[in-house]
Amino acid sequence: MTSIDPADSGSWPLWEVFIRSSRGLSHVHAGSLHAPDATMALRNARDLYTRRNEGTSVWVVPAEAIMASDPDSKGGFFESPQGKSYRHATYYTQSEGVKHL
C-alpha cells in the first residue's frame, strides 16, 4: 500500500444501501456502509441491514454517484410550491354530472 493522502488512507469507499421490505413496496434508504467493491457491498449490506428479516431485495449505490440536494436549501428550492394549491386535486371543484371522481 502506497497510500499517502490522509483523506484516503486506504479505507474502502462508501455505499448507500436501499432495502425493499416486501414485494410491491419501493426500496427505502436504510443506511450506508464501506466496502471494497459492489459485490462485497451487497454482502455487507446483507450482514448489516437484513439481520432481522427486513428485506427481500437490496440495492447498493456508490455514495459518490448520488447527487443530493443542498440540506440548507429552503426558499427557492423547496418552498416555492407553497401557496400553489392548484397543484393539489382538492383545489378543484367537481363539475356537475361527473359521477365517478
Partner: protein
C-alpha cells in the same frame, strides 16, 4: 415438533426455524452413537466459533468485523443444536458439554482449532472449512434421523453464505496485491496438512449408516470445489500429505487446551453463573 419454515413469495416470515430449546424439550433422544456423531459436528462448530469471535473489534474494517461475528454466531448456533441433541443421550445440557468436558473429551478437528493468524489465514481456514461443511450439511439434510436432518436444514442456509463470503475474499486477496496474495497463499500452505482429517471415517460414523454422512464420501467433491475456488483466485493448491495423528482425540492438538481455557474459565470459576 414442527420444523417447517414458511416464507411467502412476497415476504420473508420471521420463520419457524428449529431452536435448541425445542430440541431440549422435545421427545427426541439421541442414541449413544448418534450422540457421539452430533458431538463431533458440534465440537467443530463450537471451536471455530470461538476462534472467529476473537476477530471481534480486530477485523480490518467495521463491516468485516460484523461479517465475521455473524459467521461465528451462526456456528455457535449450530454447536448449540448439535450439543443439545448429543446431550439428550446422557442427560446433559449443551452447557455441560461445552464448559465441563476436558481437552481429551472434545472431538473437534485440528483445522478449526488453528490460530487465526492474519486475515488471509483466517479466510483460508474459512474457505476450507465452509466448503467442507457445505458438502456435509447438503447431504445431512437427508439423514434418517429427523432431528439431525432438521438441524442440517437450518445450518445449510447459513453455511452457504459462509462459503460465499470465504470464496469472495479468496478471490479478492488472491487477485489483489502481491502482499494479499502472499498472505492467503501462506494461510493455505500452513493449514493444508489438516484437510485430510476432515474426511476420516472416525468412530462411530461408519456404524451409523444413513443417519450420518460418511466423511470419506465428501472428500472428492470438497477437494474439487476447493481447487476451483483456489485456482480462480490465481493461487496454488498446496501439495502435502496430511498431518499424523488425525483422529479428533486432541492428543496431537497443540491448540485445543488454550481455546478451552479461555472458553471455559468463567463457567468453571463460577458454576451456574448466568449473565
Amino acid at each position: 415438533m414442527s420444523f417447517a419454515s414458511h416464507d411467502s413469495a412476497t415476504r420473508q416470515s420471521q420463520g419457524e426455524a428449529i431452536t435448541p430449546e425445542e430440541i431440549a424439550s422435545s421427545d427426541a433422544v439421541a442414541d449413544e452413537a448418534t450422540a457421539r456423531y452430533a458431538m463431533i459436528l458440534g465440537d467443530d462448530a463450537l471451536m471455530l466459533s470461538q476462534r472467529l469471535s476473537s476477530w471481534i473489534s480486530r477485523a480490518p474494517e467495521l463491516e468485516e468485523d460484523v461479517a465475521l461475528a455473524n459467521i461465528a454466531l451462526d456456528l455457535l448456533g449450530h454447536a448449540r443444536f448439535l450439543l443439545t441433541y448429543a446431550g439428550t443421550a446422557w442427560g446433559k445440557t449443551e452447557d455441560d458439554l461445552a464448559y465441563f468436558r476436558d481437552e481429551e473429551e472434545f472431538r473437534s478437528c485440528r483445522l478449526v482449532e488453528q490460530e487465526n493468524g492474519d486475515f488471509g489465514r483466517t479466510i483460508a481456514r474459512q474457505l476450507i472449512f465452509s466448503t467442507y461443511q457445505h458438502q456435509l450439511y447438503s447431504r445431512l439434510v437427508h439423514s434418517t434421523d429427523p432431528t439431525l436432518a432438521a438441524i442440517a436444514d437450518k445450518a445449510l442456509k447459513e453455511v452457504q453464505y459462509h462459503q460465499d463470503h470465504a470464496a469472495q475474499w479468496t478471490l479478492r486477496l488472491g487477485l489483489g496485491t502481491e502482499e494479499s496474495s502472499r498472505r492467503i497463499q501462506d494461510g493455505l500452505d500452513s493449514l493444508w496438512s489438516y484437510v485430510e482429517e476432515l474426511f476420516l471415517d472416525v468412530d462411530p460414523i461408519p456404524a451409523l449408516g444413513d443417519v450420518a454422512v460418511l466423511p470419506s464420501s465428501l472428500r472428492e467433491d470438497t477437494l474439487h470445489r476447493l481447487r476451483e475456488a483456489i485456482e480462480a483466485a490465481g493461487l496454488t493448491v498446496p501439495e502435502m500429505s496430511g498431518a499424523y495423528g488425525s483422529d479428533r482425540t486432541g492428543r496431537f492438538s497443540e491448540q485445543r487446551g488454550y481455546i478451552l481455557a479461555e472458553m471455559q474459565v468463567l463457567a468453571r470459576q463460577h458454576p451456574g453463573a448466568t449473565w
